[in-house]
Amino acid sequence: MSDAVPKIQIHGLKKSFGDKHVLRGLDLSIGKAESVVVIGGSGTGKSVLLKCILGILEPDAGSIKIDGVEATKLSGSARDAHLAKFGMLFQGSALFDSLPVWHNVAFKLIQAQGMPRKQAKERAIATLASVGLSPAVGDLMPVELSGGMQKRVALARAIAAKPEIIFFDEPTTGLDPIMADVINELIVKCVREVGATALSITHDMASARKISDRIAMLHEGRIIWQGPKGDIDHSGNPYVDQFIHGRAEGPIRMQVKRF
């Protein structure tokens, strides 16, 4: 990946909300068909990072290049073409609650790619099957599903149109361990077989090890460590060590009061 243009290249990315500085000059680069997992404490700005890359949030400073093209100042049809490359699984699923499950999954196929509804529905049912949901689920409304089922539908929606770049914001949170592993396999398959570039966020270290080629740790607005997943156990970085072993004691201080 070192010689080619990286799929995603982020440099000096900054984002604040009021006087809360969430991202403080973040650098990250992801190669084509590479799977990177970002780990980091709750509220460190992982979801904000994904939304900045997508342009849902406007960065305060820094550059984001997709396929070598600066993406932060796009508008109009250039932005549409940029967005068409992405698929995103939102942390809170964000399913359209006025549409049945199958239409959620087939949404991009029907609305943006103009696929006939019948064909799109078949594709949606097939995608639902790959996340372990039966065809009958397709005709339900999102509110009729459990949280974990909603997450899987959202995952199906993110991958149904076979995007070049897929963002997974906590794909396995709220799933049982077996289903979590099925989803891990699915993400790996998306990257290996379809050749998609994946950027995932997870707190689940087992999942991170399984789906990633490379792991990066976000702390206080910067990537403080990154390396191949095999190196994570001997990173020599006390922050990473504390995080992957889930210790309350260490250099990362949680802002909690004793009670």
Partner: protein, 298 residues
């Protein structure tokens, strides 16, 4: 002795230690232009700030309206969404608008009868009813009812979509929210309101007819011919133009407030209230302006 920023007496009144400040000095201190209290109480500053906020809010709304209208005329068009909104805004508003119009027409007949009988002008009642309904009461009453029904529903729906990230999800699925969510509502609202008001006009006039014929013993055939006699084309047309403008206002305010809502359930609640209140006020204001425009000659 001269100091860069003032005279000796200025400094003396600010220094608390040496001599206790005289009441006059304290007053001067309070009234120093930079003092916060003065700033808060300064009526000019307050008016200026409110005015500036009003201007920037108007600017944001105008920008939003411009963007939305532009997207109404550019493909892709989501005909299915437009159809759904036509049914929602038009068809399902029929009962409430019809009922409002019926009772408005009935009460109008009763009121004008009790007033006009004082100077033997009962024969003018059919004309008064039909003109009031088609020019004013039909569009305005329908507008206000639809603002309550549709403006609130749009703001709540889009507001919920905003706070649950569904609008963000739309953009990641290569669908422009202005085109998919807002344009269909604006198009449907603007096209459907005139139809709704036409129905309201007919029902309202019929309400007046019912009261006059069955309660006040008017002759039915006479009533109808009198209604037609003085009715001009533009009485109805002006009401329908108003209706189109009201339909645009209602859907625009619903979309604007819903689309920009933030902060969870409470934010959605506030957006809903704002949508209805601002739409209602704008309906009444624009009604006055449009009336002035349509009937400028007489």
């Amino acid at each position: 002795m001269t100091l860069p920023y003032g005279t000796v007496s200025d400094v003396a009144c600010l220094a608390p230690t040496l001599t206790p400040p005289s009441p006059l000095d304290t007053l001067r201190l309070l009234l120093l232009p930079s003092h916060r209290l003065v700033q808060i109480m300064n009526p000019f500053a307050l008016i200026g700030r409110t005015f500036l906020e009003f201007l920037s809010a108007t600017g944001r709304l105008a920008w939003f309206a411009g963007t939305s209208v532009m997207h109404c005329f550019r493909p892709p068009f989501y005909f299915r969404q437009i159809g759904r909104q036509v049914v929602d805004i038009g068809y399902f508003s029929l009962p409430v608008v019809g009922l409002t119009a019926l009772f408005t027409g009935m009460v109008l007949a009763l009121q004008s009868h009790s007033g006009f009988s004082r100077f033997d002008a009962e024969s003018a009642i059919p004309t008064v009813v039909v003109l009031s309904i088609t020019r004013e009461l039909g569009p305005v009453m329908a507008g206000l009812m639809v603002a309550g029904r549709i403006g609130a529903a749009i703001a709540a729906e889009l507001g919920t979509m905003r706070v649950t990230e569904q609008i963000d999800a739309l953009t990641t699925l290569s669908t422009n929210p202005y085109k998919y969510l807002i344009a269909p509502r604006l198009i449907a609202g603007t096209l459907v309101m005139p139809v709704l008001v036409l129905v309201a006009d007919i029902i309202g006039v019929f309400g007046g007819f019912l009261v006059c014929v069955y309660r006040l013993q008017f002759n039915a055939a006479n009533y109808i011919s009198q209604s037609w006699q003085y009715l001009e084309h533009r009485d109805v047309a002006s009401g329908l133009w108003k209706a189109a403008v009201f339909g645009f206002i209602i859907t625009l305010m619903g979309c604007y407030n819903g689309f920009n809502s933030k902060g969870g359930a409470q934010g959605v609640g506030a957006a809903t209230t704002n949508a209805v209140v601002t739409a209602s006020i704008l309906i009444l204001v624009s009604n006055y302006l449009l009336t002035g425009l349509f009937f400028a000659d007489k």
